[in-house]
């Protein structure tokens, strides 16, 4: 059974998955994404390095989550996808909808850089 934890530091909030997301975990995962949104940070990362699988509903929820963060003026990214999930995301053409990084550090650097560019352009 998957567990979730949310860490916040500065402008960033990170949701960590401690297991795969299958049918039994979909509702709890949707709740965790809502909690991440409610944290109100402009930058959000979902760390999937602990997840061996994300089912189609979980991927759909992630796409909607990333879009919602952007609608609120923020940036979101996925990090640490396992090879199977990464292949699935690419096959489904979801790379154009979600930012993907190898790990949380890389995602954080990219989001902070993008956030910095946004502020300087305003």
């Amino acid at each position: 059974m998957a567990g979730f934890s949310i860490e916040t530091r500065g402008p960033l909030a990170v949701l960590r998955l401690n297991g795969g997301i299958r049918s039994d975990e979909n509702a709890a995962f949707a709740d965790a994404l809502r909690s991440l949104l409610a944290a109100g940070r402009p930058l959000a990362i979902v760390d999937a390095s602990g997840a061996d699988y994300l089912n189609s509903r979980a991927l759909g929820d992630l796409v909607v989550f990333c879009q919602e963060v952007r609608n609120r003026g923020g940036e979101a990214a996925l990090a640490g996808l396992c090879p199977l999930v990464l292949r699935t995301v690419r096959c489904a053409g979801l790379e154009v909808l979600v930012d993907i990084h190898a790990d949380v550090a890389g995602a954080e650097r990219a989001l902070l850089e993008r956030g910095g560019r946004k502020e300087s352009s305003q």
């Binding site: 049918s23 189609s56 991927l59 759909g60 292949r87 489904a92």
Partner: protein, 267 residues
Amino acid sequence: MEDEQREQAPGAGLDSLRRENLTLRQLVSELGASSDKFLAVATHDLRTPLAGMRLLVDMLSQPGRVAPESVRLLDGLRRNLATIEALVADVLNAARLSQPGDTLNLTEFEFNALVGDVLAGLFPLAMKKNVTLDAKLDETAGVILADRARVGQMLTNLVGNALKFSPPGAAVTVSTAGDSEFAEATVTDTGPGLQPGDKDKLFKPFVRGSAPATGGEPSTGLGLYITKKIAEAHGGLVGADGAPGRGSTFFFRLPRRCAGRPRSSGA
């Protein structure tokens, strides 16, 4: 009288049997060759005009080519074209699998890796239909020696079917398992289930189950037949279970070292 005749010409009887055997072998070989030629011709002569028709439909569909009210007609034409293309592909596939000379391209591969690849390709359809696609891939599925493309085709048929007949909000789960002799894949859905009369005829050609496709997708009635033929070519088996309103379960089991006839190394 008959015993005397047998005693007098046992060698003649055997010779006659050998000649008949040789004649039958030659006939099978000729039939196989003509069947190969038929398939080659059919593949080309059916698919070429279909490809041409598709190109014309795509060109006519470009903005400004036809009146707006005709766009709907073109959509209908495109859907029917897709149905014919799927039927031609399935019929040729089934014919090819039924040939006595059909061979398998045997390689060793990780069973779960193939399942993952197939699922990755079907996620867009699952998301489009709002059906949850889950995987429970057990390590015991291990490595098998089989025709990777054909096994992939079996998985695509079973998972595709489950998605086709599942309503929005339903779930399809693909599980794998294995032991020292077999690897097995099971596809379970929470769709309409199987009617009592369906189970006996599901794997026969041109037979469709009682339930309609939830997205209006076309069905050639050959997918499960092809799946069965591929499994049998490997020395494996397929099966199905399910009750009305309680979802369905389809599975196939393959021997770890396929028993089918491999393609020759010189091919």
